[in-house]
């Protein structure tokens, strides 16, 4: 059964005179346990698509059903809660709350969910250990490298036990070694814990690791390959 169902999705931005069809009629579905890359040149609509799936933006046309919920039907505050409980987010950069340590950043999202302290602490330790940061629990984001920060972000995304994780160009600001390292960790989590990852990229090395590659151009899917 698919966890995400996208039907004739369109997003049009109107800027002064020009209309930009950032997403221009996309039908897609994702299954639990996927490790899918959305690729395409800059400006092709990757970020817009991910924002729509993540409920950060609302479509001009079409619908997105996640776990039987049409997210367009949710109110502004319901959609925030929906994100909290169902979707993990990793952004390009500035993922973390600068005044909190790595541990607190991961705990923060479980705090929002109202989880018990004991559970929070245990799960935080486990997650940070699994992304290879078991020894940096008390470091502030500014004391971590870009790659380490992204790993904390992945741990934070998983902490809420989401249905899937959305990552918009998570490696865009990383060097090749950190890129590889982050992808390996994501793949391991996907393989061992069956975590669903949907990420965008235009980095060929990242594309290589994906199990499914969806290519979009001008807001349309031009190919969808599974490996």
């Amino acid at each position: 059964m698919s966890i995400i169902q996208i039907e004739s999705l369109k997003k049009t931005y109107r800027e002064t005179e020009v209309e930009v069809h950032a997403v221009n009629g996309i039908d897609l579905s994702f299954e639990a346990g996927e490790f899918a890359a959305i690729v395409g040149p800059s400006g092709s609509g990757k970020t817009t698509l991910l924002n729509l799936i993540g409920g950060l933006d609302s479509p001009t046309e079409g619908k997105i059903v996640i776990n039987n919920t049409n997210i367009s039907n949710l109110s502004a505050s319901q959609i925030i809660d929906f994100r909290l409980w169902n979707i993990g987010f990793v952004f390009q950069a500035y993922n973390l709350i600068p005044v909190l340590t790595a541990k607190e950043n991961v705990e923060f999202i479980m705090h929002l969910q109202g989880r018990k302290k004991q559970e929070r602490e245990q799960r935080t330790k486990d997650l940070l250990t699994s992304v290879g940061l078991g020894n940096r629990l008390n470091s502030r984001p500014s004391q971590l490298s870009g790659g380490q920060q992204q790993r904390v972000a992945v741990a934070r995304a998983l902490a809420s036990k989401p249905k899937f994780v959305l990552a918009d160009e998570p490696t865009a600001n990383l060097d090749s070694k950190s890129t590889e390292n982050l992808l390996d960790i994501m793949e391991k989590l996907n393989r061992e814990e069956n975590i669903t990852f949907i990420f965008s990229t235009h980095d060929a090395r990242v594309v290589k690791k994906a199990h499914r590659v969806i290519t979009i151009e001008d807001g349309k899917v031009v190919s969808d390959e599974r490996k």
């Binding site: 409980w85 987010f89 929002l112």
Partner: protein, 405 residues
Amino acid sequence: MNLRIAWRNIWRNKKRSLITISSVVLAVVLATFTRSFQEGTYELMIENAIGKFSGYVQVHQKDYWEDKSLDNGMELSDSLIRTILSTQNVEGVNIRIESFSLASNKNNTKGTLVMGIEPKKEDSLIDLSNKIIKGAYFNKHDKGILIGSKLAQYLELDVGDSLVLMGQGHWGNTAVGIFPVKGIVKMPAPNIDRQIVFMPLKTAQEYFSFPNGATSLVIKFKDADLTQKICNRLNSRLDTTQYKAMSWQKMSPEMLQQIQSDRISGIMMLNILYMIIAFGIFGTVLMMTEERKREFAMMIAIGMQKTKLAIITLYEALIMNSLGIIIGIGLSIPLVVYYHYYPIEMSGEMAKSIEKFGMEPVLPTMISFKIILKQALTVLIITIVAAAYPLWSILKLNVIKGLRR
């Protein structure tokens, strides 16, 4: 967790937070300071001209205030004095007879206010003997007089010299007399110091040919706040076809007016100060919010409700502002208390121009917790209004735009 984030955010940019806190401190201190000085000056002015001179309430013959001539004076009677003394809260009554006369010495002539007083009783009200800078205080049957220091200077009089007084007495009699100067007093209110001549009541009654006569009865009581009440009580008990009790506000409306208009202009100045502070605080809040929009957007994106986020920024503002206000109050109290007991003494031109207004050239503060609290509260409200901006901008934040920054 929310409090922890708020607390750490405050120390994230130490310099800016300290500037914000200090500007709140400064606001509270400046505001309380200005207001305390203002009210302190009024208090002193009233104290000098009213409390320690005319008294807060006086009883006159009913037409006296309209036309202050001796002919509108009153014949003293025991029953009148008894009625006054038996009025609730009244603690005493000082009998005075006063009228204008010309004073001359050598070639100098000047209009003076001759005031016949009961030496013992008035000393406890006006504190006259302590105001003597040369010579000695007089007793009941003294023929000598006390004169204001500025008058003495003008007439070139010294203790032991004689002063010639000439004026209108009771019922068309001419009042003339030569009086030895027994002492020179320095009256705090300059306009009084310039024209006052004190003599014992008996001597004055003789000089004015008005034995057993008086113009004003000064009512003594403890609490100045009772002024209006006592005035009303007296008027209900006295025979108002003959007598009338008046409050100082009625007797010196110009002083009351001066205070009120001065107070208004002071408060307007203060409002300008408040505005400057409000803009300052708003500026830092604005910067802080703009800088953190991306972070706010991220927090909302991962699932934090906007209201929760707003609460964090509210905590930040409240912690900083109340810190500033508490420190501000803490600094204000000793300053206000200090300057109450050791007022600023003006000198030079400034002093002269203040004296022209009939005021003593010193600036004391008024010790009033009400003033401090009121100013602190006003500053608090300003800071809360300034803090409303980030709340508003969070509630309106577009997550996508925020993330794209």
